[in-house]
Symmetry: D2
Subunit: 344 residues, 4 copies
């Protein structure tokens, strides 16, 4: 069976997902597209040679009875409405981050989904599909290092442009760690504090860079999450978990090892798209496969989207106040507690 997909938002990420579905993955077909910029929607149809209807808006697209699943890849503030429309129509949703721009918006989605009685929504946190994170999660789940006590992680980009402001360290960058870390240790955040080291000379006036977020969980795990988006040397994602019996760490990205000019070296990537290309592919393939095989997506849920929203808000407040800020999550509904099987 081929899942018929409608794509809401044909900007960069929308086009990439269309390319994946059409040219790389198996089991899906783009049959409808829309964008606030209709020309962009028509262009996508043409560029990817789609057999797809162009709709004027998300309402119309979601209403197409031939569409099984909706991809929400529009501008962040538009996500909530599209997701709610799709849920109400009983359609599957793959929604890029953020699920909604507020905790309340996420909660509206959570409520709507529960009313439908089954999971329909997967949020685009692709880290969980990265082979290194999968291995790290397995090591933890297999109790290879005992119960976790501390995490030290780093999210480093070689550089960002002037549009990237201090708060985007949370909404655009740390957001991936926010999702990945609570999933990794199966724990909830309790508080966050931010430290600002001296600003690197490679940053600009409106960006404090680097930043270190100290998160504490209900289980007592202490997390230091460094965000450093003008680190110059490359795109580098590090994550190390200290447990009661040992320590486990993300592998370095595999790279040919060269001995030359008195150096033993391997390559560090510069591009996050290359770093997580496989994860993006596996994420979408898993969405398609899960919907077909189990009738429910198995990836990050609406509840994960809610956790990310609440935590990100607290991180922003911590940035502004310089204080330790509580992260107040509602109790996880049973609906979202059942086991998730992300690996094929």
């Amino acid at each position: 069976m081929t899942i018929k997909i409608g794509v809401i938002g044909t900007g960069a990420i929308g086009r990439e997902h269309i390319d994946r579905i059409e040219n790389i993955l198996s089991g899906g077909e783009v049959k409808a597209v829309t964008d606030v910029n209709q020309e962009s929607a028509y262009k996508a149809v043409k560029d990817y040679n789609l057999d797809a209807t162009v709709y004027p808006d998300d309402v119309a697209l979601v209403g197409d009875p031939n569409i099984d699943a909706v991809f929400v890849t529009s501008w962040g503030p538009a996500h909530e409405q599209s997701v709610l429309l799709a849920i109400e129509a009983g359609k599957y949703v793959f929604c890029e981050k953020p699920l909604a721009t507020s905790a309340e918006g996420c909660m509206r989605i959570v409520d709507a989904e529960q009313k439908q009685g089954k999971r329909l929504v997967q949020v685009g946190f692709m880290r969980r599909y990265d082979e290194g994170y999968v291995q790290l999660k397995e090591a933890l789940d297999n109790n290879e290092i005992g119960d976790p006590l501390m995490i030290h992680c780093s999210h480093r980009n070689p550089g960002v442009d002037e549009n990237y402001k201090t708060n985007m360290a949370v909404t655009e960058t740390l957001i991936h760690e926010i999702d990945a870390l609570h999933w990794l240790i199966d724990d909830n955040y309790e508080s966050v504090r931010v430290d600002f080291p001296r600003k690197t000379k490679h940053s600009h006036a409106e960006l404090q860079d680097p930043q270190v977020f100290t998160l504490k969980t209900q289980g007592g795990v202490l997390i230091h999450a460094e965000v450093f988006v003008n680190c110059k040397y490359g795109y580098d994602i590090q994550c190390e978990v200290m447990g009661e019996e040992g320590i486990a760490k993300l592998p370095e990205v595999a790279s040919v090892v060269v001995r030359k000019e008195s150096k033993l070296s391997s390559n560090i990537l510069n591009d996050w798209k290359i770093r997580f290309m496989d994860a993006y592919n596996k994420e979408l393939q898993n969405f398609l496969d899960s919907v077909e095989k189990y009738g429910e997506p198995q990836g990050p849920t609406s509840w994960d989207g809610y956790i990310a929203a609440v935590t990100a808000d607290a991180c922003l407040q911590a940035q502004e106040t310089g204080e330790e800020v509580d992260i107040k999550l509602q109790d996880t509904p049973d609906f979202y507690k059942k086991q998730v099987a992300v690996r094929n």
Copy 2:
């Protein structure tokens, strides 16, 4: 466009390729199958839920006008006939190793293909699609280590059963290095010699294990290729190229790094299928994409199949005689000299 595929041979590797085409890759569809064991063919159709005709033999399958490309995944001695049939019918062929069981057989295929005036055949040497080999090839092509002088490589399996005899070190194991190494350094083999260290106690009566093949190329590169199929510790593929300016080496397989019980360790795989899963996927996706985009497959050619056959024969003779054996290759036809672009 979806490429319509006929599969000749529905044993283990045939079924895996069917699964890839149907459930993992994009752009292909299995529309016909055959097997000397007709039940096996019917079972494949059922197991993979194929919309495919079961044919009594390769002649009939190749004759189906709806089939664009033929996958030859039958027993080795049957390959030559099926490939020749497909070429004569002007169809694309993906043929698992060996292309043919003799140099003469390979040459017949080479001749037939040239008569058709374009490349139709890709041989299933998947190493060229492994990310590590691709990086190593790029390092060489970019002259990062200067001209190559020596290669040291190892092909190690944790263990083999009693059906695996001394000669299979060539035909089943070294065959991958035979293809990958001449591609890597763009050079032709000239001679081979075999050294037998003391046999490991984990081998059996009819298997000399390990073995080391010393190959010399026309360009003067000295290659030591170790085959060790009862190495116990894991499935491990190593390859290091010593050049005039430096050395480049395949990366280790990325693995979570653990500190525990006084050891800093990462995992070594045991299963070649996991080791080269991505390479198999990329190999077939590249075949499908190349046929669609360029009208010719871009992977290992019939001529590569011929080189492998001649070289393997010399290696077998070297095993038997204990002498250095010449590898006498005919000159590469211009037809097979044009640039091959394997990477998407």
Copy 3:
């Protein structure tokens, strides 16, 4: 010339230094010993076959006109008096940490030494002589990674006994990082805060373990220093400096690399004495060589001892209060600013 040494304190560390001077290093000779336990002093003379006088106390030993240098390896609270005696007698001093048990005590030593007009005292912070730290310091001094912004370091022991209490994480463990880090980046500490993750089950009632100290420097460098003394897996010292252009990290301890049972592994030490054996040897050899060649020791100074004392006090206060505590250092006297050449 052989430097004639008097050793005050013939406990474990005193005996080790005697062994080094007599049996491993060049240029020193133990000619006098004393200990509050006189039997211990006599035993050291006998065990190491010393040609040395046993004195009843530090006053008598320091008064021996044949003694060029005094090693203070007694109980911490006794250090200050012995060091002051030696300084007043114009003798060189190698003093194990702590230089004195209070900032005021250290300042009395600093004042006394300045009155003598030349550096006489070296404090036993051996990390600066560790090959890895030396390389890291060179990388920073050579501006290989630009100006430092953050440091992440870990001090992990496999386990400690019940005598080790929470405060000893500062006085016995972190004290080494306190000295090494300000030396590494040539900066002064400004504040410290402590976070306590959930206590590992391998700790005991009176020990909060692990602990993470967040230190900030006058230059704006943010330091996370983890102390984890029941980490189980080994003795492991990590230090990574994030700079404006790149990152530099202590090397792992060199160890044979083994492939076995599906693991690629190297060994982690369990014993700090083995980890820093070379550093201890180089530290003392450098003391002996510097005294002979330059007439002044070149290692950690009394001022470094003072910095360690003030910083450790703040760390202890941070442990008790849970607050961020200021580290108020007096200005560095010019006397202690001149260049130190620690490497032969």
Copy 4:
């Protein structure tokens, strides 16, 4: 007790050993020197501020009744005579390689030493004292990888000058592997063959570089020993032993790890003196300690010197003939079979 040493040969290596004895190590004192160039001998006394007699020749120096041990660091062809003189005088000998320039010369030394009834001679093969080799030997002796089957090792220098000819790959370079490898696996060589890859453009007319020596042992171990003295990239010593249960490999030299400019890199040394500085120190300290504690040196014996001479001769013959050459060693005398304890 201080061992009184006479040094025969005050060239570069002689001076370095004098420096070690006087300024780095414990337990030895240079009391006599000689050199065919008497000025060189006088200069050494002055430069190192020695309390030593300058003798006109080795006969006179060995005759000094105050001398306990003789260091033979003269020109290779002079070694045999000096060593024999020292043995006949019952003195300990530390002799740099070669012990003698012929197998017969070595055998004369072996015979003379046996007549004295105890081991007097240690040959300067310092690899056995390198921490990496010690660990590798321990791994093998502890049966961590089972019985050895193959060894792959490399000896690479960044470059050599025009005085270095093809045969010196054996006498100056491979000679270290010849000693280290048979010690490592406790086995005897049986044959050797040489392969010459294409010569690197960085070599010169009279030097075939690189070369690969294939050695076989009586126990069936197959050794590939690469000598590559114009490898450009650094001084690099590699050694990997493949056993029946696993593989063990020399560690890389510990080096600070840097992330910078899209590379993760560590440093490779260029200077063999730095690479083996610790090994040289430990080698001589072990000689001094063993002589004092056990009355016999515990390092490489005259018999090891004989093995090196016979094997090197066969390697030279293999270079010239291009054939596999037998290595015919006499049976090891019981005198040289007793356990050697090289580690303190």
